[in-house]
Each structure stands twice: as C-alpha cells, then as structure tokens.
C-alpha cells in the first residue's frame, strides 16, 4: 500500500553497443564526410576533383621510361610501345643527370668521387645544429658548431685548411683584444678596437701565416672554383652562408631598431625597411651587375660570393625583424631586473635578454631559412647554376633538348622534401618552446 513506487532498478543496465551508424568505418564516414547534405556534396565534389587530377598525372608519372640515353630514344621507345602516339614521362633524364642536379658540376662530375665533401659538410652542419636543437646534449658540441662554420666552406671550396683556420685564429685574437681593451679601458672602445685588430690581422697577417703553415703541414682539398659550385649544393650553400653570416648582423640591426639612440635607431630601421621593400631579384641584379662598380677596380668579386653577400644582407633584414619580435615578446621585468642588478647595456643583452629572445626566435629563423632556400632559385635568372639553371643547361644539350616537366618535377620534389621536413621541424620546435614558456 505504501509501495507507491512501482519499479526501482537496483542494478546497472549492461552497456549497449552504439548504433552501427556511429562507430567504425561507417560512423567515421558519417561524421567526417557526410554529416549533412552540404557536406556530402562537398565530399563528392572533392572526390571528383581528386580523381580528375590524379587520373591525368599518375599514368604520366608511373608509365615513364627510366632507362634511355636521350629524349629521342625515349620518344622512339614510346612509339614502339604505343601505336596511338601516347607519351609519358621520360625519367631517363633524371637517371642521366641527377648527380649534376644535386651535387652540381663541381662534385657531380668534374671532380669524380668528391660526393663526400658536400655530404660531410651537410652532416657537419646538422651536428653543429644539434646542441641548439636539443638543449640536453653535452655543451661541448658547441665547439662543433663553431668549427663547422669554418669547415663547411673549406669542404665546399677546398684549398688549404689553414686558410679558414687562420681566419678562425684571427677572430679568436680579436675576441681576446676585445676582452683586454674592455677590461683595461672601456667596453665602448673595445668594439671598434677589436674590429680594427680583426681587419689588420685578416689583411696583413692571414695570408703569410696560412701559406707558411701550409708549407709546414700541407693539408689540402682539391680547390673548386665558385662558379663550378652548382645544383642543390649551391642552393644549400647560399642558404647556410646567408643564415650563419646574417645572424650577427641581424642581432645588431634588431638591437639598433629597439634602441633609443636616435641615429642608431633610424639607421637600422632605414636599412631594414629598404631591404625589405625591394624584391630579392633586384638585389641579385645589384650583386651580379652593380657591386663591381661599388668596389675599387682592382678587386674582382666572384659572382657567387657577391650573390651570397647580398642574400646575406637580405636575410639579415628579415631575421632582424624576427629577433625584434623575440625582444619585444620578453616581459618588461627582464629588462628592469637587469637594470636593477646594475648590468651595463651589453652585459644585460648578452647575459639576460638575447639568450631568451634568440631562443623564442628560432622557429622564425628556421622559416626564414626555408624561404631563403626557396629564393635561391632566383639566381638562375642571372646565369648561376642553381638546380633551375642546371635544368636549362641540360636542355641546351642536344640529348635532352625539349624536356620540360620531368626536370621541373624532380627539382620540385627535392625542394619539397627539404622544405617540408624543415617546416615540420620548426613547428615541433615551436610547440616545444611554447610549453617551455608557460
């Protein structure tokens, strides 16, 4: 009678399996592709578009010929194979010339068996980067970083090892000069003084010392003239030189632009804005056509080196903006704390500000490296032999005259592999740095 509650469940119901339409493949399809009428139409349109593109490209790629001596042979083989005149890719040009495209004339052909030099160089650069990329590796690897800056050019250009080593010694001497002057007189005088020491050493002491050392202990690689440096090795070398050499310039430019010294600020801002306001191709024209006019007529600047100089300045302006972003992102307390400790401007920058600012700038610097690397294709317009330049040269040989897509395809794939992996790396770094800061 008092029992008004007619039914009380005392035990849990067993879980039911979800309806077939919301699990497994069907459920996934429903949720992700056909969730509404509009979505279904979109999915079908996309599928049709994909099918159209792939059906046009895939057969051309897959039915290509890998083994022929010239385009004429390729065409003859297609004519033999298909009566209706169909033609697919002639990848034979890649099997024939891949070494030129990758390693260039310098290491691919002219000097047989020198593949190892750019490969070791690249490995060295990766090793040099590792302490920056993975902070928990032993700090001793920074020595490798410093060494690779001098060893990479040596591996690429060849010649005596004592040239780069003496240059390194000159720089070390300049650093000591800086320390000594800064301690004895003033850190302000120390910078121009050390630059002066560096200049004097480089101009007057370097070549006798290095040739003397070379006479005592000749360690030499076969020298490679810069105009023979070509293919992807050229692109990578321009990219690496530009990034490494532009970093110090960029740091100074960024500090200059943040500085409250009027003239320094305006000069840095002006330089950055001018460089960023003009297309890279005009700077490359300056390098290959105008730079000679700006130097004394007794100096004959190598066009590859000239291009590297201008690309370095170009990169410096962009990286300066990245570093400026890093500087601006630091909390104001960091600057104030440094001031409170009584640190001088340079001490504060070196010990507190720059290490943090540079660390958060690394992803930006990597993406700048990617764009510089892609932009190196522009040098083909001024007759340097980057991969595109080499592809033109290959086509002006009567064997491969008339081949277009295969070469562009190969170059595009190699570029893609490089740039994609770097951009993935930069993204993962960004994620890591973000969590580290919050």
């Amino acid at each position: 009678m008092s029992n008004t509650l007619s039914f009380v469940r005392t035990e849990m119901l067993p879980q039911k399996t979800p309806p077939a339409s919301s699990v497994g493949l069907q459920g996934w399809l429903r949720e992700n592709l056909f969730s509404s009428v509009g979505n279904s139409i979109l999915t079908l349109l996309t599928l049709g578009f994909l099918a159209l593109i792939l059906s046009n490209i895939l057969p051309w790629v897959l039915f290509g010929i890998w083994d022929a001596g010239s385009l004429t042979e390729c065409r003859a083989m297609f004519a033999e194979r298909y009566a209706d005149g169909r033609e697919y890719a002639c990848w034979a040009v890649v099997t024939d010339r891949w070494d030129q495209l990758i390693f260039g004339y310098s290491f691919g052909n002219l000097h047989e068996g020198l593949y190892w030099r750019p490969i070791v160089g690249l490995a060295l650069i990766l090793l040099a980067l590792s302490p920056i990329l993975y902070p928990n590796l032993p700090r001793g690897l920074y020595i490798a970083t410093a060494a690779s800056i001098f060893l990479y050019p040596w591996l690429i250009w060849g010649g005596s090892i004592w040239g780069p080593l003496t240059l390194a010694l000159c720089i070390i001497a300049a650093v000591f000069a800086y320390r000594a002057v800064a301690k004895e007189v003033s850190s302000l005088i120390a910078i121009p003084a050390s630059l002066l020491v560096l200049g004097v050493l480089v101009f007057f002491a370097m070549s006798p010392v290095s040739s003397g050392l070379n006479a005592v202990a000749p360690i030499e690689l076969q020298p490679v003239p810069s105009r023979e440096i070509s293919g992807f090795v050229l692109s990578i070398t321009i990219g690496i030189v530009a990034i490494v050499a532009s970093l110090p310039i960029a740091v100074f430019l960024a500090l200059g632009r943040q500085s409250n010294l009027f003239i320094v600020n305006k000069l840095s801002t002006g330089f950055i804005e001018i460089i960023r306001g003009v297309p890279l191709i005009t700077l490359i024209f300056v390098a290959t056509i105008l730079l000679k006019y700006f130097l004394p007529s007794s100096v004959n600047l190598d066009p590859v080196v000239a291009v590297m100089v201008l690309v370095t300045l170009f990169t410096a302006a962009y990286i300066a903006e990245v570093i400026r972003g890093g500087l601006a992102a630091l909390p104001k307390g960091q600057y104030e704390a440094a001031d409170a400790l009584g640190l001088t401007y340079w001490q504060a920058q070196r010990q507190i500000i720059l290490p943090q600012a540079l660390k958060i700038s690394i992803p930006g610097i990597v993406s700048n490296f990617i764009s510089v690397f892609k932009d190196t294709t522009l040098v083909s317009i001024v007759a340097l032999n980057d991969p595109l330049g080499i592809s033109n040269a290959i086509r002006s040989n009567s064997d491969w005259n008339g081949i277009v897509w295969e070469l562009y395809g190969f170059i595009a794939i190699v570029f893609w592999i490089f740039c994609f992996s770097m951009s993935r790396y930069s993204m993962s770094l960004e994620r890591k740095l973000q969590t580290g800061h919050r």
Binding site: W157, I249, V305
Partner: protein
C-alpha cells in the same frame, strides 16, 4: 664591407686582384688559365655534357686560344654569362674575352667600350612557322603572335621589320630558348624568331620537325664574334689572329690530321708562315711561332670545328651558308699572314 672581405677571405680564389692597366696576356700567363665568357647554354655553341664539360662551337675557339698560348686546350676557365651581365663581366675583368654569340653592333663597339675582333659566325634573324599555317613569306605575318627571347637584339630587329613593312604583331617575349620552344610547339605563338643558327637547332629538336618550315627572309645581320676590352691591342691581336689562323688553315687545306706533317715545311710560303716554319709571326704576337699549328692540331681548322659542333652531320644540322669560305661563296675570309 666586412662581410665581403670575410667571405672573400674564405674563398681565396674569390678575390683576385687584377691590374687594370697590366697586359691581359701577362695576367693570363700568370694565372695559367684563360677566362672565357660563354653563354649559359646555347645548343651547339656552348653547353655542358653529362660529365659537366663544356663543348660547342664557341668553346672550340676558346680551346684553340688555350692551345695557342699554353699548348693546353684545358687551360681555359669557362665563365657562364647571361646576356645582361656579359659586358659588365668583361669590363670588370672577370673574363678576358667573350665568345658568347654576341652581335657586333656600332653602339656595343663604341659606347660599351668593348672591341670586337672578328666574326666567327655570320648569323641573321629568321622566322619559323608551322607548315599548316600556309605562310610562305614573312611579309604574310600580319597580326601574328611572335615568340622572342628577351634581352637580345632580336626584339629590336623584329620591331623594325614589322614597322618597316607596315604590319602589326603581338610579341610574346620569353625568358629562354626552352620556354620559347615549348610555347611555339603548343601553338602559343604562330612564329618563332631568333638567329637562324639557333632556329635550325630548335627545329631539329621539335617533336615533328617536318611540320615546320623556316621562312626564307633573314631580317637582320647578326655577326657573332669574340669581344675583348678596349685598350689592350696585343690581346685583341692574339684573339683576332688565332681565329684568322683557323680560317686560313681551312683556306690552305691544313687540317688537324695533316698539320704536324705540313708544319715541317712545305712548298707553299703562306702555309709555312701560318704554321711558323718560316718567319716569326707568332713572336710578334708575343707567343711562340708554332701557336697556330698547335691551335689547329688541337681543335682543327674552321671547317672542322664547324662540322663537328654544328655542321650537317650533327643533330643541329646547320649548313655552312654564309659561313662557307669566300672561295666557296661564303663570307669567311682571313687576311693574309705575312
């Protein structure tokens, strides 16, 4: 400027002082190499093979200079130059001479401070059209789209030709031969115009060469030849007379095969002077007396060079035409060696 010094120091080869007033020949001898400016790739005239080695008509003349000066055809550094920076490179001393399919014109000779020392190929601008267009003469090209390569004298000649004949046209300027050819083959332009030497090579490399014809009109004079800086007459003489020697060798029937035999001395005093068996013409140039014999032995005479690089037996298949010897109705003619 610190930066360039830094990089320059790394690449010791990069910065080489060149004396502006010193003799080019002395510089070359000190360097051990001739810096020869060539194109970045022109079918038949200069291109690289699968080994990365340079070859072609212009390259053979550079090699001949190497043989004449150093007795070594390999003593040549080839510097690839675009049509934009070739004259800058020459005037700045980056190269000693250009063998770079460069047309000898008044303003280049006078205004750009260069000296043209000879003509190794008489060229002219021609037109190629598909056969099924039914065009037999360039005068029928009213309103046509024309593919031209930019940065050359070609576009000026084209503008002049159409203006002189009161016709209009649509120029389709293209960066290089590759692009121009692809556009022409796909019908993006009706007419392909460039130097007749290149036209034949382009035609040969098309998918169906037989369905294209080269029109009879040659609308310009394009004398292509070696170029040196103003102001060093000795070097200009060397380049001029090595090239003349190759032409003279053909005139006299001296070939790479018989030059060793003939340079021992013949009945013909002209041949003897040419090959150094008589007189001391080579020493007047600042070279050895057998400079011409060495050059001919290394690369052959003018006709041999022509045949092996661009002649009718090659895929490029150019006829001698204007470049036949004057005795055979052409224009190639060497001043006498005496």
């Amino acid at each position: 400027m610190n930066k360039s010094v830094f990089l320059g120091a790394l690449t010791v080869a990069g910065l080489a002082a060149v004396g502006a007033s010193a003799s080019t020949l002395d510089d070359i001898k000190a360097r051990g190499k001739i810096n020869c400016g060539v194109t970045e790739g022109t079918l038949g005239f200069s291109s690289r093979d699968a080994e990365g080695k340079h070859g072609g008509f212009d390259v053979e003349f550079c090699r001949a200079l190497g043989a004449a000066i150093f007795n070594d055809t390999e003593a040549v550094e080839y510097v690839e130059l675009s049509s934009k920076n070739r004259f800058t490179a020459l005037s700045a001393g980056q190269v000693d001479l250009l063998y770079r399919t460069t047309t000898w014109t008044f303003s280049r000779d006078v205004d750009l401070k260069t000296t043209f020392v000879g003509i190794n190929y008489y060229d002219g601008q021609g037109f190629m059209v598909p056969k099924d267009l039914g065009v037999a003469s360039a005068k029928e090209l009213e309103g046509a789209t024309v593919c031209i390569e930019t940065g050359t004298t070609t576009e000026l000649n084209l503008a002049d030709f159409f203006r002189a004949n009161g016709m209009t046209y649509e120029p389709l300027p293209v960066g290089g031969t590759t692009e121009a050819k692809a556009f022409f083959e796909e019908g993006a332009c009706d007419v392909y115009t460039t130097d007749a030497s290149a036209l034949a090579g382009v035609r040969a490399s098309l998918k169906a060469p037989d369905s294209y014809i080269i029109l009879p009109e040659i609308v310009s004079k394009e004398p292509l030849g070696p170029t040196v800086r103003h102001g060093d007459d000795q070097w200009a003489d060397i380049v001029r007379w090595v090239q003349n020697a190759l032409v003279a060798a053909e005139e006299h029937g001296v070939t790479s095969a018989n030059v060793a035999e003939l340079s021992k001395g013949t009945e013909n005093p002209s041949i003897n002077r040419l090959l150094g068996a008589e007189g001391s013409l080579g020493e007047m140039l600042g070279l050895d007396n057998d400079y011409a014999a060495r050059a001919i032995a290394a690369v052959g005479n003018y006709g041999e060079i022509f045949e092996k690089t661009i002649g009718e037996s090659t895929p490029i298949g150019l006829p001698r035409g204007l470049n036949a010897l004057w005795t055979e109705g052409g224009l190639q003619y060497s001043p006498p060696f005496r």
